[in-house]
């Protein structure tokens, strides 16, 4: 806890004084599952207000990178610097509170709850999540709940799924689940957004709209976004600033979309030699 406070303190201090460019820096991340070296020294970085793509063939370690850096999975070594502070090995809730939120590839919505309830959990610093507050400060909580509800409806409007607000998450289709998941992560007011295949299964025009929307959010809120996307052609057309290409647990190429399109290593990684 002391460390968390310290990290927050640094964050507040840096925000005003220095313009941080390199807000997330990952060095030499390793992870081994039994005999498989899932991550073999992955190094990435993310600058402020930047959208970065992370692409690669199946099983190359994209999602594992996310799991280890967000604290969901224990890694075997490496370092994750968030705003210049080491967060490697911290539990995922503390990393989230520092401003880094993530989504999951298989959405992992809370299925037996309604869509609107799913969206109302992530906002930070809610009064009512403390048990004593929830029993004794009912009026203040009611007011707060109303604000969160408004915000949740705004988010649903943004993603064009307002009509599903009162449905159970188990009743949603695959694409709708992806949208609710995206809405859920936006509700947590992140500074850094890790999106794991946000538009897989979403209809083409809407997928493009989502990417457009992520771009506007970046400009409006100063978000930095790291996106895993399986479809290389798609992500290269969507105006990402930089792309990392992974293969066999390593980052093989880093560059702008135009550089990636011409790189032979990338074609080898995707198609084999």
């Amino acid at each position: 806890m002391r460390f968390l406070r310290q990290a927050n303190h640094y964050f507040e201090k840096f925000k005003g004084v220095i313009k941080l460019t390199n807000i997330l820096e990952i060095n030499d991340l390793t992870k081994r599952f039994g005999g498989i070296q899932a991550l073999d020294g992955v190094s990435l970085n993310l600058n402020e207000k930047e959208i970065v793509g992370l692409i690669g063939p199946n099983g190359c370690g994209k999602s594992t990178t996310f799991n280890v850096m967000s604290g969901v999975m224990e890694g075997d070594g490496g370092s994750v610097m968030l705003y210049g502070e080491e967060v490697y090995g911290l539990p995922s809730d503390q990393i989230n509170r520092l401003g880094m939120s993530r989504t999951y590839q298989d959405t992992r919505l809370w299925r037996d709850l309604t869509v609107i309830e799913n969206l109302m959990l992530p906002p930070k610093n809610q009064l009512g999540v403390k048990v004593l507050n929830s029993l004794f400060t009912r009026n203040r909580i009611k007011k707060e709940e109303k604000e969160i509800l408004e915000k949740a409806y705004d988010t649903l409007d943004l993603l064009e799924i307002t009509h599903m607000a009162n449905h159970y998450c188990s009743e949603l289709s695959g694409g709708q689940s992806k949208l609710v998941d995206l809405g859920r992560v936006l509700m947590s007011d992140p500074k850094i957004l890790l999106l794991d295949e946000p538009v897989a299964g979403v209809a083409g025009p809407l997928a493009e709209k989502i990417f457009e929307r992520i771009g506007t959010l970046r400009d409006e809120l100063g978000l930095s976004v790291l996106i895993i996307e399986h479809n290389m052609d798609f992500i290269l057309q969507q105006g990402v600033d930089r792309v990392f290409v992974m293969s066999n647990g390593r980052v093989v190429v880093e560059g702008t979309p135009s550089e990636i399109q011409q790189s032979k290593t990338v074609i080898e990684a995707y198609l084999g030699e």
Partner: protein, 501 residues
């Protein structure tokens, strides 16, 4: 129009399936009515169960039919259903004639309160947070033993003993979270079973917990002479009324208190965190919530509620023996109440507790029919129907039961033994097991399912679904773009930002 239909909530899609079940139940209800009509209201099975019980069962059945016509996941329907079931139960309680109605009614109400409190505690642990707790009796036992021991051995005031018991159970509940933090569903359940058994066996062998019986000179396990609160005050004020009346008032108010506490928790943001932990705790953790803290807190709160039930139980029984902690007479019954009532809904917990209490009472008052009845002798009897039902009942209980649970069936073992005593207590477990089974099969969500969180807003904002239409989020009605209120439900329309753009 096809798009409208495909968007309907799932409860509407499964309507035909539910209606089929409702028809079956309705037929059963009519059969009960016919039976009453034939017998002119005097039938009894095994000469102990009054037919009025069946009438009320039919009433319950019709209520279920009534409720099935609606979406039971809506709060107001859930309330109507709860009121209907509880009033049916009260009719049942009052209609039972007995030598001493006060004792009868008070003991039913106290029993419902105790099981209701336990089920509410279980609902906090399992229904809301998803921690499968088979050790209800562990927390109940802590409450009962502390209340009993402090009061009978050290003469502490009953209320202070109960409070101490609750506090100890809460602390123990909080500490339980530490070794079990990494255990998921089944493994956590195993640990809780073990905790309950540990306490029972300790209670069996620990000398401090033994009561002293002066006359026989042998000390038996258990705690005796537990006095309830305000016993002297009551006996001075109302010498001709049993103390049970006061205990009923106390236990029912404790149940109300537990219910309100649990409802407040369920409907608060804290409860929302708990429900999401039930669904997927890793994701909750990665949204910035310390899952361990929440689990520990709810273990403490639920443990406290269960301990309160234990304390009232100790007051009611007057003396407690390790036997009361056998899983078959406590934990399984609470689980049955939990499953029947509907997990995640506190009203369901009270309904389930009432259900279980009724079955418990039937099984305690039931007696085996005389062994020498047969269809041949029934012809001579005044009431052929009563007698033939006795024959059928005897066949089920004695012959089939004997085959299943004894080395040989009753009739093959002896031809003429009218005075053999047969324990029909096992019937209770069979009936409860059957009810859990049927409830799992046909009422997966219980009688009163969990109410979904659907906050009311006085307007709806709807995005365009396809060219030229707005869908109301409340009734799925399609409206023209630019309409001010919904055609079907009359709610105000505010067009969303995205469709304005």
């Amino acid at each position: 129009m096809s798009e409208v239909e495909s968007d309907l909530p799932s409860q509407d899609r499964s309507k035909t399936y539910l209606e089929r079940n409702a028809i079956i139940l309705y037929l059963v209800f009519i059969a009960f009515l016919l039976l009453t009509f034939i017998s002119k209201g005097t039938i009894s099975i095994g000469r102990s169960i009054d037919i009025s019980g069946f009438n009320v069962a039919g009433l319950l059945g019709s209520l279920i039919v009534f409720a099935w016509k609606f979406d039971r996941k809506q709060p107001h329907i859930s309330n109507i259903f709860t009121i209907g079931l509880v009033s049916a139960f009260l009719v049942l309680v009052v209609s039972r004639d007995s030598a001493n109605p006060t004792i009868w009614i008070t003991s039913i109400l106290i029993s419902v309160s105790i099981f209701g409190l336990m089920a509410i505690g279980l609902n906090l642990h399992t229904g809301m947070t998803g921690m499968v707790n088979f050790g209800v009796i562990f927390f109940v036992g802590i409450g009962a033993v502390t209340t009993g021991l402090l009061n009978s051995k050290y003469g502490v005031d009953p209320w202070i003993s109960l409070t101490t018991g609750i506090v100890i159970a809460m602390v123990v509940g909080y500490l339980t979270a530490f070794p079990t933090i990494r255990l998921r569903a089944d493994y956590f359940a195993i640990v809780t079973i073990a905790l309950g058994e540990i306490l029972r066996i300790v209670l069996n062998v620990e000398t401090t917990l033994r009561s002293r019986t002066e006359s026989s000179g042998i000390s038996s396990p258990g705690i005796a002479n537990i006095r309830g609160p305000w016993l002297d005050v009551w006996e001075n004020a109302f010498p001709d009324r049993p103390y049970l009346v006061l205990l009923t008032i106390i236990s029912v108010s404790l149940l109300a208190l537990g219910f309100v506490l649990s409802e407040l928790i369920l409907n608060s943001p804290f409860g929302r965190v708990l429900k999401t932990i039930r669904e997927d705790e890793d994701v909750v953790q990665s949204y910035g919530y310390n899952v361990f803290q929440y689990k520990a807190l709810i273990l403490a709160i639920g443990g406290g509620v269960m301990a309160a039930a234990g304390g009232v139980w100790a007051w009611w029984l007057g003396s407690i023996f390790p036997d009361f902690m056998l899983p078959t007479s406590s934990t399984f019954l609470v689980w049955a109440a939990f499953v029947i009532g509907g997990k995640g809904n506190n009203k369901g917990m009270i309904i389930g507790a009432a259900f279980i209490t009724y079955i418990e009472l039937i099984s305690r008052t039931i007696t085996p029919p005389p062994a020498n009845v047969s269809f041949r002798t029934c012809v001579a009897e005044s009431s052929f129907v009563v007698c033939s039902m006795d024959v059928v009942f005897r066949f089920i209980v004695l012959d089939i039961g004997g085959l299943l649970f004894g080395s040989s069936s009753y009739t093959t073992a002896t031809r003429n033994a009218s005075n053999i005593h047969i324990d029909v207590n096992f019937l209770r477990l069979i009936v409860i097991g059957l009810i859990i089974l049927l409830s799992m099969r046909y009422f997966t969500d219980g009688l009163v399912p969990e109410e979904p969180f659907r906050p009311k807003i006085d307007y709806f904002r709807s995005s365009t679904t396809f060219e030229g239409a707005l869908r109301c989020q409340f009734c799925n009605q399609l409206n023209q773009v630019g309409a001010e209120v919904c055609v079907s439900c009359g709610k105000r329309i505010i067009t969303s930002k995205s469709s304005k753009e």
